[in-house]
Structure formats: structure tokens, C-alpha cells
């Protein structure tokens, strides 16, 4: 499964899709970290994610931590219901900045 990367305003939006599992998440992780290392503000779009496992969530956690250390913005957008449930299990829905959509975020700026 390929992630779709686009630029929206000040953000690099990485849209993950399908099943973010043990096979897919190392790629997703690398992608997220590489944009942050290029000093980009990153939003991860989860609206097309049917399933995300702990390795996927762990990659998001690592991304958020890196963004904070670099004082970059990081957030999740369009969190699908299955993804939200997994985040809630580890109470991470209260940790990540979660936004409805990219447009919403840019409009509110």
C-alpha cells in the first residue's frame, strides 16, 4: 500500500491507506520521520485507514515526539473509526493533536 503525500499550506500531508500493519508501518514510519527531518510540519491523514495496529500507532508516536523536539507541527487528520478505537485503547486520542480535516485546520489559522 502506498502513502499519498501532498502539500497543503504549511503542511506536508501524508495520507496512509488500507491496513497499517507490521508490513506497512515501517514504511510509513520512515516517511513520517524523513519529512520531519526535512523540517516539514506533518499531518498524517488516517481517513482511508481500515485498520492500524500497534506498530502503526508506535510510528505515529515516534513522529510526534520527533516533531516536538524539532518544534514542528504534527497532527492526525480524518481519524477513521477503527483507527480511533485503537488510539483510545492506549488513551492516545488525548495525546495526539487530532483535526477533522486539513481544510478545517488551515481555515482556522
Amino acid at each position: 500500500m502506498e502513502s499519498n503525500v501532498s502539500t497543503e499550506g504549511p503542511f506536508t500531508v501524508i495520507a496512509l491507506a488500507g491496513e497499517v500493519d507490521l508490513y506497512y508501518s515501517p514504511k510509513a514510519r520512515e516517511q513520517i520521520l524523513s519529512y520531519l527531518n526535512k523540517q516539514k510540519n506533518v499531518l498524517v491523514d488516517l481517513s482511508k485507514v481500515a485498520y492500524i495496529d500497534s506498530s502503526g500507532v508506535a510510528s505515529l508516536v515516534e513522529g510526534y515526539q520527533l516533531a516536538r523536539s524539532k518544534k514542528l507541527q504534527f497532527g492526525l487528520v480524518g481519524v477513521s473509526q477503527p483507527a480511533l478505537q485503537v488510539l483510545q485503547l492506549a488513551r492516545l486520542d488525548k495525546v495526539f493533536p487530532i483535526h477533522g480535516s486539513v481544510a478545517e485546520l488551515i481555515d482556522n489559522k
Partner: protein, 269 residues
Amino acid sequence: MDERAPSEAVIEIENLVAHYGDRQILNGVSLTVEKGEIMVIMGGSGSGKSTLLRHLLGLKKPTSGSIRLLGKDITKISKKEIYQLRRDMGVAFQGGALFGSMTVGENVQLPLREHTKLDEKTMQIMARMKLEVMNLAGFEDLMPSELSGGMVKRAALARAVIMDPKLLFFDEPSAGLDPVVSAELDELILRLRNAMNMTIVVVTHELESAFKIADRITMLDLGNILITDTVENVRNSDIERVQNMLNRRPREVDVDTEAYLRRLTGQKH
């Protein structure tokens, strides 16, 4: 009414017969567990519930019958295929079975090291996340011997679900725990199922826990299934042995005088 999606069996046991030596332990057990279902296997000592679990885990070959897990007949597939299947299965053993020489964190990460090539940091975060879910945040550097009984069980559960298995087996979650800790574990089992849609098989003899978590209960007695049904139907069952078990009445043993005397005097026939 059953509101789950159309049936998608994760476990299909057909006519399972098992022996230890000459002694027949399971007399043709059939049982189906649906995706996302919590099935509680109950039964007293010697009922065959532990034997059934050992067969489900592929640790024992049955005398006859078949066991399909996630669509694969584990009595027929190769060791390699069983190994692959184990990626999708988690097991929390009764005593925890944590390695005493490793920290809690290392124990929890063990399946990831065995089955994946994930980045070190990803593995650490995954393990810490599971410990958070199990209310064991900050205990990762302790040794298992430094944990209480309830903490050991929760650490074992964290390890069992580290790979986000489709199928989780939990042997005697409440054994040896006080009621509060045991209730917390029940809550965790329900949360795991609800968040991950995990199929969970719990072996227990604790009625209270079984009634709280089960979608269905199957009761084993002397190697036979007495009943497999919803909590409500099990409670209201008019099968005498079921009610005996629910009311903790000891079973009446039929005394065969001839056989009994032969046993006591050591005569073979």
C-alpha cells in the same frame, strides 16, 4: 438477539477426541467461536478444559477430529505453518510464564523480536503502549520477581497482545487474584475485544468472571460439552450438571461395587 455480523468462524473444532496414554480425556468435542466473540470455557478439575486448550494451541496432537484456527486445520499443517499462524495468536498462560532473567519490557517485546524486524524504537514504544493499556506504565525495567500476582498476569497479557493477535487465549485470568484485581483483568479483556475486535478464548472456573465477560460459555464435564450457549441461557439451563456447576454442588459418583472393589484390591479383571 445476536447482532453480530454474519458468522465468520475463527475457531472450528470438530469431534475432537484426545487421550493421555490410554485415558480418554476428550470424547468428541465440537465447538465454533466466531470472530470478535469472547468464549469462556468452563469446567472443574479433570473436565478436560486444559487439555482442550493445549490442543487449541497446537501443543498436542489429537487422537482424531479437526481443529481449524483462522481457517487452517492445525492438526494437518506443517510446523512452519503453525509458526506463521502463531503470529496471529496470543497466549497468556496461567502462571504468566514470564522469563525471570528478563525485565518486564524485554518479556513484552519478545514476540516482536522473534517474529518481526521492526525498528528498535518502534518495538520499545509498542511494548510501553501495551504496558500503558494494562496499567503497568513505568514497570518495564522491573524484573518479573518484583511484580505482584496481578501485575504478572497483566504483563503476560501485554506480551500476549503485543502483536495485536486476531485470536487471544487466556488461561485462568483470575486464578490466585483478589476480586478487585480480577475484575480489572475482566475489564481489560472486554476493552481489548471492543477496540481490536479480537476473538478471545478464556479458560476459567470463576463463575463471576465468566458471566461478566462471556458472549457465550461452553461447559465441559468429564470430556464432554454439557452446554454451549449465551450467559443467560447457561444460567437458565435445566441440565442438572450445569446447575450443579453453577451452584457448586459436588457431583454424585455412581459406585460400581465390583469395579470399585477390584480397583482397591488391585485385581485387574
